[in-house]
């Protein structure tokens, strides 16, 4: 009972503080802009903790966040091995290969108006497909180790990046290209100095979509066979053997990695496309 009451009290207090902060004169300050969502997140964790402890939910169903943190700290070594296997070997390598391939393919496609018109609709369509389904096929082709995971990631990230890059390369208008012509710039100079920089906001759009897809691909591929390590392996076996707290620790890691990955790409985007209106201000 004390848990429920405490949880409710915390919820009410946090909500009041957030309302006060958001409507106060300081609402535009950086500290407040960070504090409000952080308080919201903490409230959800407290609610979770309170509900689980207050109603005595079995740990096999839903462990409280405090216990997840304890398990997270205790099994750092396992989590690290899984992180290396799934993220560094599978997702990251696949992401780099897929992004490079998509970028190069986009440059080649862009040279032909016919190909652009033919491939854009198809690429858009394929980008909307449930490509995760190819995971078992690729695991069958490339074996259980990280190669097959990277292959799934390559296939998943390829089309969103391709479509966005091709679209971005068409972003420059005739005036700008004409200006480059008056400078006597060749194809490659125009590409390097005008069209690729102009395409960058679109490319990063694709890259940001691809960060999540890369992790999804790497984890799903492990459900279909993997060496005895990796986040997907740990999750699927953990659910079976009822070590749910370890599964939640893996979910916590994947959430951290996903957000960090996205954050890094956004950070690079800020450096690269500093001139774009959406980055100023």
């Amino acid at each position: 009972m004390i848990w429920i009451v405490g949880m409710m009290a915390f919820w009410a207090a946090a909500w009041c503080i957030n309302v006060w902060l958001a409507n106060s004169a300081h609402a535009e300050k950086r500290a407040v802009r960070i504090a409000v969502p952080v308080l919201f997140g903490v409230t959800i964790l407290v609610l979770w903790e309170g509900l689980v402890r207050g109603f005595g939910v079995s740990q096999v169903i839903l462990p409280p966040p405090s216990q997840v943190i304890v398990v997270f700290a205790q099994s750092m070594d396992i989590l690290w091995i899984d992180f290396v296997q799934t993220v560094l070997k599978g997702a990251l390598r696949g992401f780099l290969i897929g992004a490079t391939a998509a970028f190069v393919a986009a440059l080649l496609i862009d040279r032909s108006a016919f190909l652009t018109r033919g491939l854009l609709p198809i690429g858009n369509f394929v980008a909307a497909l449930p490509i995760v389904g190819v995971a078992p096929i690729l695991v069958n082709w490339f074996g259980f180790d990280w190669h097959s995971k990277a292959a799934v990631v390559v296939v998943m990230v390829f089309f969103p990046i391709l479509v966005n890059t091709v679209q971005g390369l068409r972003e420059t208008d005739a005036m700008q290209r004409d200006l480059m012509r008056t400078y006597a710039a060749g194809y490659f100079q125009t590409l390097a100095k005008l069209r690729i920089p102009a395409a960058m906001p679109f490319v990063f759009n694709g890259l940001k979509i691809a960060t999540t897809l890369a992790l999804i691909g790497a984890i799903v591929a492990e459900y279909f066979g993997s060496p005895t390590r990796g986040m997907g392996f740990r999750i699927s076996t953990g659910v079976g053997s009822l070590s749910i707290d370890l599964v939640w620790a893996e979910i916590f890691v994947s959430a951290l990695v996903g957000s960090a990955f996205y954050g890094v790409v956004t950070w690079i985007e800020k450096r690269v496309t500093f001139w774009h209106p959406s980055q100023r201000g």
Partner: protein
């Protein structure tokens, strides 16, 4: 329609490349089968062949390449094999009156479609309500919006098995509810973001005009903000329904589902029947295409009726 010729020719090239790729992909199992059938294969035995490249195998055994196009369990099936399997499990089953048999893809596609639509409805509702709350409340805007973005960077597949286990434990039978939750999780975000943009799209001038008409909050919402957001909504719905389908299939992949297209893929993997996987994949692609097209048509009709120039 001016894109029809380029699209069709690119499709033709893709199918041709697929068809050509079958030969090198299937040459090893094809040679194994041919050897067992008594044909002379260079080099003999599947173990020594492992060190020889597929191209050399194809050059040395030109007669056996054709075998690779007619395997029962190919590494890469030909387009026609997949088409045949697809017809056998859909059209032919319907013709025999076994549309709802467990072996029919129509049945599995229907199971997947149901969860997708439930998840789509749930996700769209959450997205729209969330957007309204965010547009009208500063607190919601500041506290929920960052978490909505973070929620999408969390790989849902990690959570999917947990959602299934938890909903099972609290006494929800079957896979429908957890699958719908997973697809709603993927589907709500594009709707939320677009609706926030759409509800904020009326200009200050338009809002001021409504003020001079002495409208209250409800009226300006229903007469200005909501109609102005409809084009944004439809764009998001197209992304959302595709995401909902992905979510359902992800929800069907882990931990032993038995019906649905994702489960067909899983079962095809476990029983080593690649044709079942491929036909389920193509079926999922057709389903995705049909759903997106449906929303596209709805979008055109609605926007024309509303007087938007599209």
């Amino acid at each position: 329609m001016k894109n029809a010729v380029p699209v069709l020719s690119v499709l033709a090239v893709i199918v041709a490349a697929w068809w050509l790729a079958v030969a090198p992909m299937n040459i090893r199992p094809a040679l194994d089968i041919a050897e067992r059938g008594g044909a002379v294969v260079v080099p003999e035995g599947s173990v020594p062949r492992r060190d020889v490249s597929v191209w050399k195998l194809m050059l040395d055994n030109p007669g056996q390449v054709a075998v690779g196009y007619d395997l029962k369990r190919p590494r890469l099936p030909t387009p026609s094999q997949v088409g045949e399997e697809l017809w056998k499990t859909t059209g032919a089953m319907v013709a025999k009156g076994r549309t709802w048999s467990k072996r029919s893809l129509v049945y599995h596609a229907w199971v997947t479609l149901q969860s997708t639509l439930w998840g789509f409805m749930l996700g769209t509702t959450i997205g729209i309500l969330g957007a309204v709350a965010i547009v009208y409340s500063r607190v919601m805007d500041m506290s929920v919006m960052p978490w909505a973005i973070i929620s999408q960077t969390v790989p849902i597949v990690a959570l999917a098995p947990m959602i299934i286990v938890v909903s099972n434990q609290i006494g929800i039978d079957g896979r429908g509810v957890p699958k719908a939750i997973i697809s709603a999780y993927l589907c709500f975000f594009p709707v939320l973001v677009s609706m926030v943009k759409g509800l904020r799209s009326p200009t200050a001038q338009q809002l001021d005009l409504l003020k001079t008409y002495n409208t209250n909050g409800f009226q300006s919402f229903f007469k200005l903000r909501l109609p102005a957001s409809v084009p944004f909504l439809f764009t998001a719905l197209k992304v959302g329904i595709a995401a909902a389908l992905v979510g359902t299939i992800v929800g069907e992949l882990p931990t032993g589902a038995i019906s649905g297209l994702g489960a067909r893929i899983l079962i095809g993997d476990q029983f080593g029947t690649p044709l079942a996987i491929w036909s389920a994949l193509i079926c999922a692609a057709i389903l995705a295409g049909a759903l997106v097209t449906l929303i596209d048509v709805l979008q055109r009709i609605t926007l024309r009726r509303m007087g938007f120039h599209t």
